[in-house]
């Protein structure tokens, strides 16, 4: 079954004709993802990689029956692309684009909360259900099907976790990169709930980092609602206070949002915390 994406995912690519969009469209198709079309305003009627291109998401959805969309549109236009997908009633929207202005995302979030769409991202690597579907930019060859769900705020650290699991022969049900931006669509709790409900998932890996309180909330949720074991990793243990670590979300402000605090909360509720990416796989295996 997996979560969010599988063999039934019919994917649109917003920004398919751009450089990144085209590169990853090819990768997704090569992986076996059912890409049903692309959207680039003004290029409607063209064909790219054997897929039809449309001017608007609404038209693309009507024609192809798409139920998911992935967004590679540049940051200045990305919020509009997300709103377009929401307006068209796309069920799952995955926004890869980074550097979207925070006020744009606040407006998007406001509209999202009134819609029935789910947004993953932005500034995220997307989703991977090994052997079935890949939506986004995760390198597919490092993953293999199996019983471990992975959810992460960090892109490349997600790959580390998958890589470590696969090297130990442990496969993944679905890998979800929720992205590192302070205002985004899907948080840890949403995904933990889905993994808890997914019969194909037996254990969960959670990758957090400094900044904010999402890991603390995840710990509370795990304590109250999760029966499946969770292993966590938290990046930024050695981060200095007040300096932004790469993206707007990762900053320790006034002593709040430290890795130590998050690790302690996880340990308090019985979540084992790995010291190195490799240890994630060891703890899952044990």
């Amino acid at each position: 079954m997996a979560i969010l994406i599988d063999n039934n995912t019919r994917l649109l690519v917003q920004g398919m004709t751009g450089q990144q969009g085209l590169f990853h469209t090819r990768q997704m198709i090569a992986y076996g993802t059912n890409v049903v079309g692309g959207v680039t305003p003004g290029k409607g009627g063209q064909w790219v990689e054997g897929k039809p291109v449309f001017d608007t998401v609404r038209r693309a959805k009507e024609t192809t029956g798409a139920n998911a969309s992935v967004i590679y549109v540049p940051a200045p236009f990305a919020a509009d692309a997300i709103l377009e997908a929401i307006d068209a009633g796309i069920e799952l929207i995955v926004a890869i684009t980074e550097h979207i202005p925070v006020l744009d995302m606040m407006r998007v979030r406001n509209v999202l909360d009134r819609s029935s769409s789910r947004l993953v991202g932005p500034n995220c690597p997307g989703l991977l259900t090994p052997g079935q579907s890949k939506v986004g930019i995760m390198p597919g060859h490092i993953a293999m099907p199996g019983p471990v769900g992975v959810v992460s705020r960090s892109g490349t650290l997600t790959y580390e976790a998958i890589y470590a699991l696969t090297r130990r022969g442990i496969g993944q049900s679905t890998c979800v990169g929720i992205g590192g931006d302070p205002v985004n669509g899907t948080n840890f709790i949403d995904v933990l709930q889905m993994f808890e409900d997914d019969p194909d998932t037996e254990k969960v890996v959670l990758i957090g980092e400094i900044g904010g309180t999402d890991e603390q909330k995840a710990a509370d949720f795990i304590a109250q609602h999760m029966t499946k074991p969770v292993v966590a990793f938290v990046a930024g243990r050695k981060a200095p206070e007040g300096r932004t670590m790469g993206h707007a979300g990762a900053i320790v402000e006034g002593g709040v949002g430290t890795a130590a605090e998050k690790i302690a909360r996880f340990q308090d509720v019985g979540v084992r915390v790995a010291q190195t990416p490799e240890e994630i796989a060891e703890l899952i295996a044990s």
Binding site: A75, P139, R153, T156, V183, T213, H247, G249, A259, T276
Partner: protein
């Protein structure tokens, strides 16, 4: 990106907020001339992108133009927490009856902007929040609906602002919000907003921070960036699209992705702890970085004299390992580096990347498979150097 006080206040004024009619001086003579034009006592204020200038002697009252010139002479060139003062703002001195705090920032947890007001103006708002949180009145702002008049009334009522000032206060708060939104700010604060002896409200000090991601739509604001105040590497890093933070260790790290860069920082720190070895920097080359970006990143790392070894950790998703390899080769052919290099390349196009590096035959280079292995090898390299 942070704006200077004078830049923030001039921006406020464009949106209709009353500010003292001062000017900026870069020399003591200019300061004298401005004081003359202004007439009456003035305040000479250091323009630096850091707090604590008052305690450092960067703000001084002058009764005469001569005194203004003297103060400007002593303040210009001053070093305040590593920032050299290159400009002073010469403002007419105001008759202060009361000081108010009024600021807007993004509340990330609530996912919307929040406007805050306090009768304890002049103090640092975070300090007020620690000592007397109930003195801060907060109103969350629906970004689609905007700041509503009734919310401004709630602030005025909350700080017990005298009723004759409510009209002015309504206008100032509404203008500050427009300024905040139309600047894509992450902070816009007036501290203090004063009640003058004449019964008017006046923004005598101001501060703005802007969302770097939104500067593409604010060319005028982007042009306000004062690079004279920041270390040259930070300017270089930003212009190359890199995220760089200087740390105090010896291993120059270049990583793609913030999370992985943090983990790399953590790992080198942990494995090197016993020997006093750690990361020289945090450096995220971002997603989809090409050869030029990688070369620029390498140049920044090599410019740091503390660096004794280089750790390159790339896990390719949107970043393609062959592109990274090309960047590494280009950079090393440009700058000759004797120090040890640990390279880890995994992910999209990893085979091509490794192949390219091998063919380039770069001296003193070792490879690693896992992050732990890479960090341990880098620590060992520094120890052995």
């Amino acid at each position: 990106m942070n704006l200077h006080e004078y830049q923030s206040k001039f921006r406020f004024e464009e949106f209709g907020i009353p500010i003292p009619h001062g000017k900026v001086a870069e020399t003591p003579e200019e300061a004298r001339q401005i004081a003359q034009e202004v007439g009456g006592p003035v305040v000479v204020k250091a323009q630096v992108l850091t707090g604590g200038r008052g305690k450092a002697g960067g703000v001084k009252l002058a009764a005469t133009p001569e005194e203004a010139e003297q103060h400007a002479r002593s303040i210009l060139g001053m070093d305040i927490k590593g920032h050299i003062v290159r400009k002073v703002l010469v403002d007419p001195a105001a008759n202060i009856e009361q000081e108010i705090y009024l600021g807007i920032t993004n509340d990330r947890a609530a996912r919307m902007p929040v406007i805050m007001c306090s009768a304890e103006g002049g103090m640092d708002i975070e300090e007020v929040n620690r000592v007397k949180p109930e003195a801060i009145i907060r109103e969350h702002i629906d970004p689609l609906l905007g700041l509503r008049s009734y919310q401004i009334n709630a602030l005025a009522s909350g700080i017990e602002l005298p009723y004759p000032l409510w009209r002015q206060f309504q206008k100032i708060a509404a203008c500050l919000y427009r300024c905040y939104m139309e600047s894509d700010a992450t902070l816009a604060e007036i501290n203090p907003l004063i009640i003058t002896a004449e019964g008017d409200l006046l923004a005598v000090d101001g501060k703005m921070s802007l969302d770097d991601n939104a500067l593409f739509r604010h060319r005028d604001l982007a042009a306000l960036r004062d690079t004279s105040a920041e270390p040259a590497v930070e300017t270089q890093a930003r212009e190359a699209g890199l995220s760089y933070v200087k740390l105090d260790g010896q291993i120059g790290c270049m990583v793609n992705g913030a999370g992985l860069a943090m983990a790399t920082m953590d790992m080198t720190s942990i494995f090197g702890e016993a020997d006093g070895i750690g990361p020289a920097n945090f450096l995220d080359i971002g997603g989809g970085a090409d050869a030029d970006t990688v070369a620029a990143a390498l140049r920044i790392i090599l410019a740091d004299p503390d660096v004794k070894a280089i750790l390159l950790n790339i896990f390719g998703g949107i970043t393609r390992c062959d592109e990274v390899a090309r960047g590494v080769i280009a950079a090393f052919s440009e700058v000759h580096v004797k120090m040890p290099k640990v390279v880890r390349l995994v992910g999209t196009n990893e085979e091509e990347g490794r192949q390219l590096l091998q063919e380039a035959n770069i001296p003193d280079m070792v490879t690693a498979t896992t992050l732990s292995e890479a960090a341990q090898k880098a620590v060992a390299a520094v120890k052995g150097a």
